[in-house]
């Protein structure tokens, strides 16, 4: 049953991705801007322009271009970036790990922070403390990652200049890595000073991405927890003499967490979307920052590769959400 669900989702995902590929391809061919005009010096002769077009396959009929492109994708070849003069696949492979590390870190912080505040808020229910949390949270819910990122820049650049404002790692330390998962690798190989340096670069972008998600988690989880605390099984545990904290953590949380998990999954896709602008603000070398450069430079092959990669990531997250939700529903798991 579960396997059938997964197979069905995967098939749907492939169809969606193929659809996205076709749409992207067509959209980018009808645009007015000419990528070749962007890369060539103003005095170039018509022959030079034609040669360059031929080099990137831009002179062939649309259908032929699409055929070449599709064949390439199936073989894992997304073409050559016009501005970077490198294979799109290798550019993406270089940039993706940094974004994965950032997004996973932000998700972890959001869940910890949001969950923690929701639990504290539940413990403080019907006190002035809860009103303070609710009031702050209603403002936090309105503040997007873009504003958080810049507020953090102001705070740490001016008032508290302890964190590096840009980049992923001190360039002097960025040597001797065999993968691009700098943080994971430095932790696994025990180079903790390097890991510390990377973390100091990641604090601000992580917080900017995590805080909006944390606010959403606080609102929903606190609501669910408060409802769960009114249930009979909590009353029973209370009669047994359980303390308030233990009631929340052991009894209410387990039953209240379902909707929050599902919502967090959906919101995680927004967080991934947020990496585009947040990476830009902190000059963090991930795929989001790359996407903005690709648009500004009208680097078609790179834009296509990026859109497909983002599409794939969103699809994988959605499958992950389905699996998590299914795993939490014992009936579906055993069916």
């Amino acid at each position: 049953m579960l396997l059938a669900v997964i197979a069905n989702r995967a098939a749907m995902a492939l169809v969606t991705l193929a659809g996205v590929a076709v749409v992207v391809f067509i959209l980018l061919r009808v645009v007015p801007g000419d990528p070749v005009a962007m890369m060539i010096s103003p005095g170039a002769s018509a022959a030079d322009i034609a040669a360059l077009k031929a080099h990137y396959g831009l002179d062939a009929p649309l259908l032929v271009q699409f055929g070449i492109w599709t064949k390439g994708i199936v073989e894992g070849d997304f073409g050559t970036s016009i501005t970077l003069h490198r294979h799109v696949t290798s550019v993406l492979a270089d940039r993706l790990p940094a974004t994965i590390e950032l997004a996973v870190m932000a998700l972890f912080v959001a869940v910890t922070l949001g969950g923690g505040i929701a639990i504290v808020g539940t413990l403080l229910r019907r006190t002035p403390g809860e009103a303070v949390i609710d009031g702050l949270n209603s403002v936090m819910l309105a503040v997007p990652d873009f504003i958080w990122a810049l507020a953090l820049v102001l705070l740490f650049a001016v008032a508290l200049p302890v964190l590096p404002l840009t980049g992923q790692i001190d360039p002097a330390l960025a040597e001797g890595f065999s993968t691009r998962f700098y943080l994971t690798e430095s932790v696994l190989t025990g180079r903790f000073a390097v890991a510390g340096n990377i973390l100091s670069h990641m604090i601000m972008p992580t917080l900017a991405l995590a805080l909006p998600l944390a606010a959403v988690i606080v609102r929903l989880l606190k609501q669910s927890l408060k409802e769960a605390m009114l249930q009979d099984y909590v009353l029973l545990a209370r009669i047994k003499g359980f303390g308030e904290l233990r009631l929340v953590l052991q009894e209410a949380l387990r039953n209240a967490i379902g909707p929050t998990l599902a919502l967090t999954g959906v919101q995680f896709t927004f967080l991934i979307g947020g990496t585009v602008i947040v990476e830009r603000i902190f000059a963090y070398p991930g795929i989001g920052n790359l996407a903005i450069d690709a648009i500004i430079n009208r680097d078609f092959p790179l834009i296509q590769g990026l859109v497909l990669l983002f599409g794939l990531i969103f699809i994988l997250i959605n499958i992950g959400i389905d699996l998590t939700v299914a795993a939490l529903k014992p009936r579906l798991r055993h069916a």
């Binding site: 503040v143 873009f146 102001l154 001016v158 603000i281 599409g311």
Partner: protein, 277 residues
């Protein structure tokens, strides 16, 4: 009149009104020409800090332009996008939503399927593609927001219309012999409007942020028009020399976004029985 009793709505609404007045009368209110450069007065701090000069209340940027005047003029682009983009998204989404919700059957199937497919496309991807395709500029920003966000309105209006169509007053109107368009626009629409207003207000907040982000990365209006996003980008570059160049437009953006959000929230709570739950 419940609206007036909600302090959230009064404060947030008051701020938005204030902002509208500032944007309309920007040339009269702004103390300086927002485009006038003067390298002799570059990066002056706000009044109250050492080396500040009178006449530049919030200081000057790296080119000696008055920050306060630029923030005041920047509100024009933000509010234009907020009203035009959110308004158009609302218009298109609501018309389709009304049709889907009231006509049902075939129209509903087609429109609902379209909304599902549309929403499956993550906004970031769609905006990357759109801006890559239609190019930069204010009109692109507005088109991108409308193309991406009409679905929000369509979904809610469809649901609301469907529930309104079940009401007795609609049956009564049918019995009296009102035509279908008359029922839809004269009977049902007025009852959908409250939900729509709340949703529209929230969307305006989103539009303001999207415009600021696109200005920040240089994909919105040309750089000689003052925008909050553009100022933020400049301020980000010289944050160590002049933090106020970043702080002033960021504060304006923050206040505007929170105000739209609180207003929308408050309106939803007071006006709409569905969202109130």
């Amino acid at each position: 009149m419940r609206l007036i009793s909600d302090p959230k709505v009064v404060v947030a609404g008051g701020f938005i009104l204030f902002l509208i007045v500032v944007a309309i009368f920007a040339p009269l209110i702004a103390p300086q020409d927002p485009l006038a450069q003067n390298l002799l007065t570059a990066t002056l701090p706000p009044i109250g800090f050492p080396d500040a000069e009178p006449g530049f209340l919030l200081g000057t940027d790296g080119l000696g332009r008055d920050v306060l005047s630029r923030v005041i003029f920047g509100s024009r682009v933000s509010l234009t996008v907020a009203f035009v983009a959110a308004g158009l998204a609302c218009l298109i989404g609501s018309i389709l939503g009304l049709l889907a919700g009231y006509l049902g059957t075939f129209a509903d199937t087609v429109i609902s399927r379209l909304v599902d497919v549309w929403m499956a496309f993550p906004p970031v991807l769609l905006s990357i593609l759109l801006i890559a395709v239609i190019g930069t500029g204010l009109h692109s920003v507005i088109i991108a927001i409308v193309v991406i966000d009409w679905t929000r309105f369509c979904r809610v209006v469809r649901t609301e219309t469907m529930s309104q169509a079940q009401m007795d007053y609609v049956t009564a109107a049918q019995a009296v012999g009102f035509s279908r368009p008359a029922i839809l626009f004269r009977e049902i629409l007025p009852n959908v409007v409250p939900v729509l207003i709340a949703l529209l207000t929230l969307e305006m907040g989103i539009a303001v942020v999207v415009e600021a982000i696109l200005s920040f990365v240089g994909l919105s209006v040309s750089s000689d028009t003052p925008t909050w996003g553009g100022m933020i980008a400049e301020g980000r570059q010289i944050v160590h020399e002049g933090w106020w160049v970043l702080a002033a437009p960021l504060a304006a953006l923050f206040a505007t976004v929170v105000a739209f959000n609180q207003l929308g929230d408050g309106l939803a709570r007071s006006l709409d029985p569905v969202l109130r739950r």
